[in-house]
């Protein structure tokens, strides 16, 4: 299963990564080399294998879907990159001006 430039461009889009043309060539080569080592797995007969997310944790019990109260040690204002008038400023979905220019 050879990975093409289109494949890498597609997954880069899914992963919200911008890849330069120069870097793309290198990544296609590297991903093909890495995935080539994974092909050995196809030879393993796993028809009767059941999987879980993490093995060997019988001691992990089910619990009510509720957690303990969580105390932040800093106020939201201290953590937010930008606030104005009690509101968080976030990048616009589509804009032709910088957030700092908004009135």
């Amino acid at each position: 299963m050879a990975v093409t430039r289109d494949d890498v461009a597609h997954v880069a889009g899914l992963a919200r990564l911008a890849i330069s043309d120069e870097r793309m060539t290198e990544l296609v080569e590297q991903l093909n080399a890495i995935l080539g080592h994974m092909d050995v797995l196809q030879q393993v007969d796993t028809r009767h294998v059941e999987t879980t997310a993490q093995e060997g944790n019988e001691s992990l019990p089910l619990r009510p879907d509720a957690g303990p109260r969580f105390e932040m040690q800093r106020t939201l204002e201290q953590m937010a990159p930008e606030m104005r008038g009690g509101f968080f400023l976030v990048p616009r979905l589509s804009t032709h001006e910088d957030v700092s220019d908004a009135s």
Binding site: R16, A18, M38, L41, P68
Partner: protein, 465 residues
């Protein structure tokens, strides 16, 4: 000998940081520290009515574990300057026991690497030979212990990131059972594999640290509600009647004969203590690296989606909309290895490839776990292997990504199967330390520590640096 006060211990640690040049102009193992704040905390510890058990044990903390007073950047530009609004449970527990956080230690970016060359803040140098890597990804923590800055350090493990640098730096490194230690405040890399680990100068230091941080945490639903034994009591446990497994797959013909000889010497030491050594097989071992490098990047691609320029750290604005901001921020914020793994992980999870890669890897992972189950069910108490195939290599020696991944060949099986593991020094090759690894049943850290105490004592000071 009188134990040092917290202030004396912290003062000595900062003096040592200067003496060994722990910052960017030297070993580069320390990223962030605040001497005055650490001393103020030490004074508060010394003012307690009763001496705290960890008063003389200031700790170094890997930069992917949240602390209130110092930044938590995961060795990444995307989190440069980020200070967490809450503290990891493991850090809170250490503080409650009287420890003071000295510094945050350098690491491979988001814990992805085996040499500590992937940090955005430059590589860490091995204190035993500055031309060589300290291992990774917890290379800064291992170097801090090896350089005498801290007796105990926290690291994190996803595929061997505590045990491998411990082996390269000649110290002790512990990966607990999956679920044994809270991950609240550990920045997630691969959630079905990640665990917080402890590095120490000796087995006893590591056991002490693990006793303090282990146990159920209501803030982490994956932490197990299992009693935590007193691991330090293992120091006096007899090895008579114990069965040590020697898995053939960890001793291939290609293994450096000097590493094999050191392992044989360790196994002879166990025999002399009354233990029995049995040859065993863990037949799916050679599939562990392909499995690991599918599962871990897949989970990483999901976990690292949160670093988008909106919620954390770096934001690279432009005038071309939100999506372009995401892409610009992530591409400038993530280094080459993180980018490569996010792409790899996204690919193996994408439509058309999920069954062939991710699902298949999870199935083979179950086979690897079953290998361990069978070995322990057959009467083996502890498994002994080398921690790494070779000692620390030179900076820049491995440029091929897959060749670098092979560093985890003897360690990542414990992460995939969830069993606990410890690495301790067993001797030297070319004047560089070699680590021996002990693996035990799920939640049998007590048995693992007991065997490690016995081996450390039997091999004596010569096996350490």
């Amino acid at each position: 000998m009188t134990e040092p006060t917290a202030v004396e211990a912290v003062t000595a640690s900062f003096a040592r940081m200067e003496a060994v040049r722990a910052g960017a102009d030297g070993l580069n193992c320390v990223l962030w520290s605040d001497r005055e704040r650490a001393l103020a905390q030490a004074r508060a510890v010394d003012a307690r009515a009763e001496r705290a058990p960890l008063a003389g044990y200031p700790v170094a903390v890997k930069d992917n574990i949240a602390t209130l007073d110092l930044p938590t950047t995961c060795g990444s530009r995307i989190l440069e300057g980020y200070v967490s609004p809450y503290e990891a449970t493991v850090v809170s527990r250490l503080r409650a026991a009287g420890s003071v956080v000295l510094c945050k230690t350098n690491c491979d970016e988001f814990a992805m690497g085996s040499s500590n060359e992937n940090s955005a803040y430059g590589p860490v140098r091995n204190p035993l030979d500055p031309c060589r890597v300290p291992g990774g990804s917890s290379g800064g923590s291992a170097a801090a212990v090896a350089a005498g800055i801290a007796r105990i350090a926290l690291g994190s493990e996803t595929g061997g990131s505590v045990r491998q640098p411990a082996a390269f730096c000649g110290v002790v490194g512990v990966k607990p059972t999956y679920g044994r230690v809270s991950r609240f405040g550990l920045v997630a890399f691969a959630s079905s594999l990640d665990q917080v680990g402890v590095l120490g100068r000796t087995v006893d230091d590591a056991a002490l640290g693990m006793e303090v941080i282990a146990g159920r945490d209501p803030y982490d639903s994956t932490s197990a509600d299992c009693p935590v034994p007193r691991y330090r009591e293992g120091a006096i446990r007899s090895m008579r009647g114990l069965t040590i497994g020697r898995p053939a797959e960890y001793f291939p013909a290609s293994l450096d004969p000097r590493v094999t000889a050191l392992c044989d010497r360790a196994l002879d030491a166990f025999r002399a203590l009354g233990a029995q050594v049995r040859d065993i097989s863990l037949p799916h071992t050679d599939l562990a690296i392909p499995v690991y490098y599918i599962v871990a990047p897949a989970e990483a691609s999901s976990n690292l989606a949160r670093f988008d320029g909106v919620r954390y750290g770096l934001r690279v604005m432009g005038d071309d909309g939100l999506r372009a901001m995401y892409e610009r921020t992530r591409s400038r914020g993530f280094g080459p290895e993180v980018t490569r793994r996010v792409l790899l992980g996204t690919y193996v999870l994408s439509a058309g490839y999920y069954d062939a890669y991710y699902k298949k890897a999870q199935e083979v992972r179950a086979c690897i776990t079953d290998d361990f189950r069978r070995a322990f069910a057959s009467g083996v108490d502890v498994i002994f292997t080398p921690t790494t195939p070779s000692p620390a290599f030179e900076l820049g020696a491995k440029s091929d990504p897959y060749e670098m991944y092979l560093n985890d060949i003897f360690t990542c099986t414990a992460n995939l199967s969830g069993v606990p593991g410890i690495s301790l020094p067993i001797g030297h090759v070319d004047h560089l330390p070699i680590g021996g690894q002990l693996l035990a049943r799920h939640f049998d850290e007590a048995g693992m520590f007991a065997a490690a105490y016995a081996l450390e004592r039997a091999l004596g000071e010569d096996a350490r640096r």
